[in-house]
Amino acid sequence: MSEKINLTLKVWRQKRGEAGGFKTYEAKGIDTDASFLEMLDVVNDEITLKGEEEPIAFEHDCREGICGCCGSLVNGKTHGSHERTTLCQLHMRHFKDGETIVIEPFRAKAFPVIKDLIVDRSGLDQIIAEGGYVSVKTGNAPEASTTPIKKELAEAAMDAAECIGCGACVAACPNGAAMLFTAAKVSQYALLPQGHPERTQRVKNMVAKMDELGFGNCSNEYECAVACPKGIDVKNIARLNREFIKATLSQGK
């Protein structure tokens, strides 16, 4: 059964081009069946009608855990501390009446803050642009059933392909690395035969881009996998490393 709870929020507020800081808000009478973002909606309505400042800017769209828009640090944890959950799918029943919640944007060198809780994650798209696809033009494809693929491989590729590009792995990593994100894409195409013709350039170019954009190096902390709302496995990082070594060796030949 749902109940109503009261919370204190400490929220990071930051204007474009200025330094930011925390401000405190009271969230009163929050229904425990509401989602975290719906709780923020309630607080924002109040801020709006009070008229003293702008509502809290935060990114969201699908509100069902698939678009990868949402995400903030909640009490220091990406998407909050609930396992395998995006912020939009975190419900207020996991919080206690009277609790104080600290909310801040994802922190990473490669994710500059745009406003309040919104950060710029466009680096992730730039990594994909380096080869996170199969270069097949529309019209080139053979009949679909001519490429049978072992079920286990298809499943493993799908496990990797579930990444929603939220960037929590980057924010959770002490080095701000985008390794899990990149590894998920590299793995999907390393596992599937369709990805093989381009596997050498793919891994090299994507890794190079990652470095160029200021994402940190991976030192096997594995915080990323703990933070990942889709349960992307660290095995993918090992696979990326193997692909990378193979690619550099083959270049030497």
Partner: protein
Amino acid sequence: MKLDAKIPEGPMAEKWTNHKFRVKLVNPANRRKHKIIVVGTGLAGASAAATLSEQGYQIEAFTYSDSPRRAHSIAAQGGINAAKNYPNDGDSIYRLFYDTVKGGDFRSREANVYRLAECSNLIIDHCVAQGIPFAREYGGYLDNRSFGGAQVSRTFYARGQTGQQLLLGAFGALQKEIKKGGVKMHTRCEVIDIVVIGGQARGIISRNLITGELTRHEADAVVLATGGYGNVFFLSTNAMNCNASAAWRAYKKGAAFANPCYTQIHPTCIPVHGEYQSKLTLMSESLRNDGRIWVPKKAGDKRPANQIPEEERDYYLERKYPSFGNLVPRDLASRNAKQVCDEGRGVGPTGQAVYLDFADAIQRLGKANIEAKYGNLFEMYNRITDEDPYTTPMMIFPAVHYTMGGLWVDYNLMTTLPGLYALGECNFSDHGANRLGASALMQGLADGYFVIPNTINDYLASNKFEKVSTGHDAFAQAEKEAKDKLDRLLAVKGNRTVDDFHKELGHLLWENCGMSRNEKGLTEALEKIPQIRAEFWKNVNVPGSADDLNQALEKANRVADFMEFAELMVRDALDRPESCGGHFREESQTEEGEAKRDDENFCYVAAWEFKGLDEEPVLHKETLEFEEVHLAQRSYK
């Protein structure tokens, strides 16, 4: 305005092939000289932008998201149809065509639907080549499942995330073209007007959502792939940012809007649970393959589900439609749920829900099997409701989901405004008055990968394009109007939030123009909408400024358009006293309470022409001819 659907001559199965041969082509060396603007990078837009760029055109693409990967298409769960007939169960292009025309309750254009069915197989080929990890069988071949409204298994899927995987495929293709320099991508840019010069669509005005800056972009053609308008109802399964604005501005600039009253209410969504609720969550229709829908036989029976014995349960879909059972099309499933709830037999705290029960399926197939098929959906349900669907039946209720209406387009997907095209959910074309499951993804990708790349060339090759500059008066004026509107919204400084108005409008529409409609309710809504709109402009509170990231302002600008659009939707519903598909007029039903079409008087597409906000729009009718599928009352008994 004259509607010319430009349906090619010849037998149905040859129209598309003939058409592709007859249209004019643009020489590969000349394509680089043509710039095309693509607004929206969901399935339809991303696939179109990537393919047109592969062909050599210069593309500028726009999305309000921070990345094309976030488009609403990402949320599609269940799957995508194709006529491959891999299960050898009697499917064919003709059957997919037939099912779609019938499913749409004979209110779609046959030639378009046939082409869609033809393209369906190419989509699967292409997506497999892209490395989309579709579900496979142990032999390594592609798996299929069945979906509502069909008696064959033709749905391809990638777990419960088919839309995500297809969109990431199209997104990858788009990134590939961005990297190559063929596509210039504008993320976090919202298109807020279409610019018309010399009677042709020649550009757009975009607002940078970070800085608020308005910018002008010219082109030889503009393609809208901006999705549907379901969010006019406030609560829907659509992503929060989905809106009708681009299509609405196009309408105001001369593109006819077709069948705005055709909206789809999806039968299996998580019921509404509180005032604060911001959106509704869909539970994939694939659940109806194994779940059984029921309510208590007795009105007001408040016992928990497990205390209601078998003989006191009413599996009403199985009872009323024995040959399709729980797999009847969406409109029927939804309307029947509403009906049993209206009879006081609804369940849950609000009485606005029915059970979707997996107990039998778990017994028959084992929990592990059910988990493998629907695990992620069950998990999602549990997360939201805190209940365990393995042990307690799910509760579901219909919710607004998809809009069949949209910009009117001819066979080439061009609107009535020359040079302006509409693709995907944004157009009205293929689903008539009701869309079958797993066919929106098919349509979006057919439009983007295969149709527009074979039709836009005809327009580009048959017209001369004088160079236009963004300094042209038409650009200046469109920009000024956009700016004035934003300033006006900020200047109101009233006492009510944007959402508060949006909820009021949405509630009115849900009650009066939702699952069932009647003359009295519609007339009432038509009177009230202008009042809500007037109040909005007097009393809305939009904080912040126009030269900054301002989400309240973005929303206000979209809701202002919904306030106008809603009126057209209701007018269209009022103007169609027959029932068809998702449009159920209480005045027009069979003795058994099923929707009753009136083919003699209403077998047409209603395309509305804008005449000014204070004028009544003008109705144009495109008469629908059925050569192949004979007009018949739908029956799923």
